[in-house]
Amino acid sequence: MATLQLSGELKARIENLVRTGYPHETCGLLIGRQANGTVSVTEALAARNLNRERARDRFELDPQAFLDADRHARDTGQEVVGIWHSHPDHPARPSEIDRSLAWPGWSYVILSVSRDGIQDFRSWRLAGNRFEEEVIAP
């Protein structure tokens, strides 16, 4: 099982973005390094959700945001290591849509959020054509 290293500070930053965005789905990118089954996240960026029509239950990350993040990562000797997005009023496990659109080699952090705040915070990784959960460690 892979491990996602995410500091409390970064976790709090993502949680804050997700809470603020509720009831819409929010999304963003994780930048860091990965080696030997461990992903170390150094930055968590927010990205625009291009899916305005169904922002409550869909996200479509702005490719320009990806390009910018990728460039920034490469410039600092890092890379894009994953994606985070929220599931408003829905469990923090990958949906069928997530699975069908997922790419291998990335961490998929999913937050369940309701009106009352963050309900769950988990990370997943595509293994073959199904998702396996990752351990989140500070």
Partner: protein, 483 residues
């Protein structure tokens, strides 16, 4: 040829032995990707479709510009440029309804609003399944506004032909998919859903109309109707646009007309050549003691308009005859026959058969009465006409009139209101009309009996190969048999 760098995102690096960049020589973006594919087996199919186009879930940037906004794969390259392959990142919470919608989209064909309009012009039924408050903001002209909740119950009356193409529409194109599936289950063979719904229809500048709405006093008057979804605003408006012809303003016509006026039937035609007699007042509740000696039509008009001024009463102070029957019947939706003699019943029947009108028939005798609907043209069931039952009138001694046999005064009230009930049902297209069934009421026993009425396939007027044989001399036709 330029030497350019292709940046490989992490999900695709297992095709490049972990390399995050590959240098290639190419003149266009397409060439660069082909070169990449030639040297790194398997990567091309992740980026390009079998048809050689960019996959939907991949973006390719040259510098900081998306090639979709440039010249696509033909975008020319300059020396030293950087191509970035960017996996589209998307997802979302799948709800059960999304899984279901994906299934529906795979089985229900979708059409654009423009295509829907063309299909409607070609004879397809356009069915608006939105709620009343949405429809009041506008709807495609000529659309059938059946509502989603009662769609299955109403569609067969609106679209009796299961092979007629049906296009469902809602506001955004989702509810219409569910509706379309239900219609397929009912047996409709050519069902389509309009993608994008009414909002797209409107955005594309296609014609719309604002369906009329009831004003406040009207809503108040009919509030008990509006509470019932089977009537509702659309049904009430249908009643207000309906035209019912009453044959006779007597024992049966009085209660029927009174309640139909109360229900808001827009136009009530009344055919009666008689004047009010004091002996009528025991049961003919439209008339009053003060109006004895005045015409029944004008007395009926006074009473009905006093109850509901919005109702238009069209009087025919004439004897119904072969020469005037079609002129009087034309334009009415339905006939309530409350006549008390055979020549008129045959004439009413023959004209209704010829014109395809439902004939709500009632009759009373002392403590008994009966009611049925003669309507051979009814789309859901082929019922009989009056002549299927009685090809010839009975001898006079078997059919005495009220004047001869007497009648319990309240009895025509019961039967006339059953006729009114049938009339309202037929106008609204709800329930099961008494087609092919006769309801017999025995007032003394306090019992209803239902009798099945069969049509006669050889009937000269409504039979399988019948061609309308023409009107006859009804007085003589009835007198001959009676003699």
């Amino acid at each position: 040829m330029s030497t350019v760098t292709i940046r490989i995102p992490m999900p695709l690096r297992n095709y490049t032995n972990g390399a995050d960049e590959v240098k290639v020589q190419a003149a266009t973006v397409g060439e660069a990707l082909q070169f990449l594919g030639a040297n790194h087996d398997g990567i091309l199919s992740r980026v390009l479709s079998p048809e050689g186009e960019l996959r939907q879930f991949v973006n390719v940037f040259v510098g900081s510009q998306n090639v979709r906004a440039l010249g696509g794969l033909a975008t020319p390259l300059a020396e030293g440029q950087v191509i970035s392959i960017i996996p589209a990142v998307a997802g979302g919470a799948t709800r059960a309804r999304d899984v279901r919608l994906m299934q529906l989209k795979s089985v229900i064909p979708e059409v654009t609003p423009g295509e829907a309009l063309a299909m409607q012009a070609g004879g397809a039924a356009l069915v608006d399944v939105r709620e009343q408050d949405e429809i009041s903001q506008g709807s495609p002209p000529g659309a059938m506004r059946l509502g989603r909740g009662y769609l299955e119950l109403r569609i067969e009356d609106a679209v009796p032909d299961f092979d007629r193409p049906v296009v469902t529409l809602c506001n955004g194109g989702v509810r219409s998919l569910f509706a379309a599936e239900d219609l397929r289950r009912l047996g409709y063979r050519k069902v389509f859903s309009m993608a994008g719904g009414f909002s797209r229809w409107k955005n594309e500048g296609l014609p719309i109309e604002i369906p009329p709405r009831l004003d406040a006093p009207t809503r108040e008057r009919y509030s008990r109707h509006l509470l019932m979804p089977e009537v509702g605003e659309a049904g009430q408006m249908r009643l207000m646009q309906s035209r019912v012809l009453l044959i006779g303003a007597g024992g049966l016509g009085s209660p029927a007309a009174y309640y139909l006026a109360a229900a808001g039937v827009g136009t009530l035609g009344v055919v009666d050549h008689d004047v009010v007699d004091r002996s009528n007042l025991q049961r003919q509740i439209l008339h009053t003691d003060a109006r004895v000696g005045t015409s029944k039509v004008s007395s009926a008009r006074q009473t009905l308009e006093a109850l509901n001024p919005a109702v238009k009463v069209v009087g025919y102070e004439a004897h119904l005859e072969s020469r005037n029957v079609e002129e009087i019947f034309s334009g009415f939706d339905l006939v309530v026959d409350g006549s008390d003699n055979f020549p008129t019943r045959y004439l009413v029947n023959d004209a209704c058969v010829k014109l395809g009108l439902p004939n709500v028939h009632g009759s009373v005798y002392r403590f008994e009465g009966q009611v049925t609907v003669f309507w051979p043209k009814y789309s859901r069931q082929r019922g009989p006409c009056y002549r299927c039952l009685y090809p010839e009138p009975p001898p006079a001694e078997f059919a005495p009139s009220c004047a001869e046999a007497g009648v319990l005064g309240v009895l025509p009230g019961v039967i006339g209101l059953l006729q009114a009930t049938e009339a309202v049902k037929i106008l609204l297209g709800i329930g099961e009309p008494l087609v092919g069934r006769l309801l017999y009421f025995d007032g003394l026993r306090g019992a209803f009996t239902e009798l099945a009425l069969d049509r006669d396939p050889k009937c000269r007027y409504c039979g399988d190969n019948a061609r309308f044989p023409g009107y006859v001399d009804y007085e003589r036709f009835c007198a001959n048999v009676a003699a």
